[in-house]
């Protein structure tokens, strides 16, 4: 995706603050369903912070599903505050994960751009 997301006004941010693998799996399935329903060009960012960041380290065992969604254009974001608090290195994150300065603030920034918000 070479889309400049800062000019998109109809994207979707999906909020994932939890580490439970079952819940994370559900959220990833929700994102896949969203793309199927709204079309493959839908701009979606999955924003993890707090324990939710374990999606981005692969700790919850969902690396393959993450990679699949990324290949379909979904941006998977990890919160820099959480990354720092957990003393994670860039190399601890799955390939292609985008680090945003603050996960919670990013969810607001996107809504201010006009994006929809989902908390599955």
């Amino acid at each position: 995706m070479s889309v400049n997301r800062d000019t998109v006004d109809d994207g979707v941010v999906v909020h994932l603050p939890e580490a439970d693998p079952k819940r994370q799996e559900t959220v990833l399935r929700n994102v896949a369903n969203l793309l199927r329903a709204l079309g493959p060009d839908t701009v979606v960012e999955l924003v993890t912070h707090g324990p939710g960041v374990e999606l981005c380290t692969g700790e919850t065992g969902l690396a393959d599903t993450v990679a699949d969604l990324q290949q379909r254009g979904v941006t998977v974001c990890a919160c820099a505050n959480t990354v720092a608090a957990r003393q994670l290195a860039e190399s601890d994150l799955l390939p292609g994960v985008t680090v945003v300065p603050s996960g919670i603030a990013h969810l607001v920034v996107r809504q201010r751009q006009g994006w929809s918000y989902l908390r599955p």
Copy 2:
């Protein structure tokens, strides 16, 4: 309600993805409070998907409260993906339930129209 919801720009979508009867009861009470506070003409859609669809089958024992809210103009929606995955027939759903193609996508479609989003 003969309102064409596709032209409404100040409705409210309420997101219910969970099956726990206590939580579902709380969500239904929240919707009733919302109507009381914002006025009976407020357009509200309660969108269930995943385990949340058990509200729409009556499995969680809340059929009477659902009927009461419907009578007051609330649309109760079930996700077609979930309905298919659970092999439910139209006749398994409570009277008046609206099936939407994708629950998660519907929540985005409404926000894009200008509706507010609540995840109780």
Copy 3:
């Protein structure tokens, strides 16, 4: 803060309906992170209702953190419906807590003004 919030169009409402102290602590930390990331002038209202109101009575042991956020301009709101249902007096609430007629409706009123919504 002498800001008239009814004219603000880029505030943030944060939704807290739960009483679990660990979750409440997380939500308060999220709000602090939000202010740090978006700047101290960001208008934030933390809206509690149902069991979430226990934040506002101090029952969950977070009075100091609440006071700290209030000092930084965050409005902490309790739902009047919940306050009445729990037979709370004004004096049962922490100093500076704002009582709104309906917590759930307030979240919609703010979104209609253009505010972002977070459900941590």
